[in-house]
């Protein structure tokens, strides 16, 4: 495969990522518009006079037709102005900026933890599938796999409250990161273990050993490099798992991430806040998926042509 192949691959994935961001943010804006009630519903319920409500609607820009609203919003996005939140009375860009970084921090911490735990364990258990170590790790792995992040978050909170081993001070990422990372680490361990066992059973591994390659080099360099491909193949799923799980984990552990802000925006019928959250969330997901795709494209040239 020539470098031109890689460039086309990158451009195609990039275009898909941008389409994702565009569809998700416009869809979010439209959805809040279609939802029953708007940011002035509370005023209506409080029997505030109609002139005040009309003025509030005009100030928040809710009296425009949807296409005009969308056009203005897109023009604003072009110079990083995401509009103003009706619920918080602050620019959406400021609100979202803080929160999206917290979610990204949590997700990347969990990913690093999961890979650091799962990958070496998977290589070790895969190198001797029937061995004592593998038979000890496998049941633990399956047990942890069965604890979705929401359950892990509750369980770790309880553990922290009961024993004081883990800190649950506000802003401490230990509990949320572990809740997200543990099931993921178990998954990575299982996938990597199976792939390593398959690579080592292939004729190539025997040939390399026969030619005098030291066993550690065969396992940790040659086999690990090939065996990482199936894992990169599920990179998109891993990214989805991380973000999907983060919603519940952030809620249970009071982590000030994007999830709670999005919830506030939706329940408060705050169109620009929801659109801003959707936009930044989509950028985060698109970037993570793009990174996963690129890693896969580099590790396995066959991916680039499909």
């Amino acid at each position: 495969m020539t470098s031109g192949g890689l460039a086309t691959f990158v451009v195609r994935r990039l275009a898909a990522a941008m389409a994702l961001v565009a569809v998700v943010s416009v869809g979010a804006l439209l959805l809040v518009r279609l939802a029953p009630g708007d940011a002035t519903t509370d005023l209506v319920l409080a029997h505030v006079d109609e002139a005040t409500i009309a003025r509030t609607r005009a100030r928040l820009g809710l009296d425009r037709p949807f296409l005009v609203e969308l056009g203005d919003w897109l023009a604003g996005v072009a110079h990083l102005d995401l509009g103003e939140s009706s619920a918080f009375g602050r620019p959406v860009a400021d609100l979202v900026g803080e929160r999206v970084l917290k979610t990204a921090e949590l997700a990347s911490l969990a990913l690093v933890l999961a890979v650091a735990l799962g990958l070496p364990l998977g290589v070790l258990t895969g190198s001797r599938p029937g061995g004592l170590f593998a038979s000890c790790v496998a049941p633990i792995s399956i047990g942890i796999l069965s604890c979705p992040p929401i359950v892990g978050a509750f369980g770790l909170m309880l553990l922290a409250l009961g024993t004081g081993w883990l800190s649950i001070a506000p802003g401490d990422p230990v509990v949320p990161a572990l809740a997200l990372a543990l099931p993921l680490a178990a998954t990575i361990e299982r996938v990597q273990s199976q792939a390593t066992a398959e690579v080592l059973a292939a004729p190539g591994a025997g040939a390399a050993a026969a030619r005098g390659l030291p066993p550690w080099r065969l396992l940790w360099v040659h086999a690990a490099r090939q065996a990482v491909r199936p894992l990169l193949g599920v990179a998109g799923v891993i990214v989805g798992t991380l973000f999907s799980g983060s919603l519940a984990v952030e809620w249970v552990t009071s982590w000030p991430g994007l999830g709670r802000l999005l919830y506030d925006g939706i329940v408060g019928r705050d169109p620009f806040l929801v659109a801003g959250c959707a936009l930044s969330g989509a950028v985060l997901i698109a970037a993570a998926n793009l990174a996963g795709d690129l890693a896969r494209g580099l590790a396995d040239p066959r991916v680039r042509v499909s």
Partner: protein, 323 residues
Amino acid sequence: MTSRRAGVGLLGFVAVAALCAPVLAPNPPDVPFPDRAYAPPMHVHVLAAGGLHAPFIFAQTLHDRLMREYRDDASVRHTLHWFSRGRLVSLGDDDGPLLLLGADALGRDVFARLLYGARVSLGVAALGVAGALARGTAAGGLAGSLGGAVDLALMWMADLVVVLPGAYLVLVLRGALPLRLSTGAVFWLMAALFAASAWPHVARGVRAIVAAERARDYAEAARAAGAGPLRLIGHLLPAARGFLGVETVLLLPSLLVAEATISVLGLGFPGPSPSWGGMLQEATNVSVLAGAPWLLAPAAALCVVALAVHLAAGRPMLTSSRS
């Protein structure tokens, strides 16, 4: 394989427990018992005064109403009644409620709510799985057997939905609907949302299988014999049976997690009707969780279902992203 059989058995056990909830639960799920707020689980004893005794519990007394402190009164034994008034096990009329898993903030039986909640949570998840399978099979079958522009459009949609984190997708769609709804409306609506967010996983798999089958001789023969596109799909789809079976098992725990997530956020089933997620909502309060850890019973139940699924499927998989 024994582990697969164990997984299927465990799933069956949970299903039977949910179906038989009215018989297994010692109390109705929605009755608040006075002076039983956050009462701890009662322990069933079989030993008394050094000898065997029919299973009994010590009477539970409210020691301090403000601190919600309960004590066992070792001098008063209440023997369990079996098969009385249509319930498997309960206490006599004057002995108060039997609380095997303690009580919640309103003094409702957590064990009874767990059993009745299983019906709601497993029911909505199962319905969501059925919807996702139907929609995914239709989309995947059409895309795979027709090819061309239909294939491109459907798979573009599937790819778009598949990368979105399921929990956020369901949250946004649910949030855009009226926030307060009746239990019945939430049930159908949530199942529909689950189907809408989980179908692409099914569609992509079905499409790949159908597209591969389309090139085989029997499909060619059917076309030559004059089978139209719809009839052809009917011939090709049975090849995806095995895949759909696995997918059914895999989607179930992820949709249970989705129900729990949405309910914990307060957009799920309303208060009186028990669901696993709704029960967990109370436990998000740290001080409540510290004082009443038995409120996490639904989380443990969720783990049991997920474990059963992992064992039954015979391989590990990523669950939560599918929600």
